[in-house]
């Protein structure tokens, strides 16, 4: 995943990379003021918000990570967490929060987090990920555009 992260960082505009090297504080400021901010967002569907409000307690939120693995090379991982780290980005909607670390965000920015309910399974899903080239049909694993 580290090698892939390095590759993913390379296509970014040079100025962005320089800003990133200045440290987390500068990165947060640059990120919030950048005209690209809108494109870097993660959206939550109504069912995702509703489910998160049901299951979270106190300061809990949903953490989304991307890790290596799965049949297409990368996979999404969801967990409940209460600690926000310096490199985390928080996306809030309707009182529900989804937190993504900056490395994972490079792979999911612009995507939608959904809570899908079928008879056989109910779970959180990442939908419409513009960074994903293709995924396996169950939706857990994906490969990235280069």
């Amino acid at each position: 995943l580290t090698a892939a992260t390095q590759r993913a960082v390379t296509p970014w505009p040079r100025g962005r990379l320089l800003t990133a090297s200045l440290g987390p504080q500068a990165r947060r400021e640059a990120s919030s003021s950048s005209p690209e901010a809108g494109e870097g967002q993660i959206r939550l569907t109504d069912s995702c918000v509703q489910r998160l409000l049901e299951i979270t307690e106190g300061s809990e939120f949903l953490r989304l990570q991307v890790e290596g693995g799965g049949c297409s090379g990368f996979q999404y991982k969801f967990s409940l967490d209460t600690v926000i780290n310096p490199d985390d980005r928080v996306f809030e909607q309707g009182g529900a929060r989804v937190v993504v670390d900056s490395d994972s965000l490079a792979f999911v920015k612009g995507a939608q987090v959904d809570f899908s309910q079928e008879l056989i399974r109910s779970s959180f899903q990442v939908l419409n990920n513009p960074q994903a080239q293709q995924g396996c049909s169950c939706g857990s694993s994906f490969s990235i555009k280069l």
């Binding site: 299951i55 967990s79 008879l119 056989i120 399974r121 109910s122 779970s123 049909s137 169950c138």
Partner: protein, 117 residues
């Protein structure tokens, strides 16, 4: 693949108590449906995935399993792959799902959803 000899004493499908309870809960609000039907479809990286749906009638070629008051129908295509399988229901905060513990499976993909026999 050699043809598997059917053993009369082997149940086609067994359900854990949590699976039974979940199916009862699902059907409670749907009096017109008599049970659920398990099927199999081609998808996923290992070839096959299970499907599950409500059903009002038993299909001509369906196999029927009745356990603790719930009915599960098995589509013809799924019957061979499901033979001897235990159907469970696993739940936590983030997700909940029916799980098929199938002794016939030779391989599954990493997330466990698709399999080959």
């Amino acid at each position: 693949v050699s043809k598997r000899k059917l053993q009369p004493t082997r149940a086609a499908l067994t359900l854990t108590p949590s699976a039974v309870n979940k199916i009862k809960q699902l059907l409670k609000d749907k009096p017109e449906h008599v049970g659920v039907k398990v099927g199999v479809r081609t998808r996923g990286c290992n070839g096959l995935s299970y499907t599950l749906e409500y059903t009002k009638t038993k299909g001509d070629s369906d196999e029927e399993v009745i356990q603790d008051g719930v009915r599960v129908f098995i589509e013809k295509k799924a019957q061979l792959t499901l033979l001897g399988t235990e159907m469970d229901y696993v739940e936590d905060k983030l997700s909940s799902e029916f799980v098929f513990n199938n002794p016939n499976i030779k391989g599954t993909c990493g997330c466990g959803e698709s399999f080959n026999i």
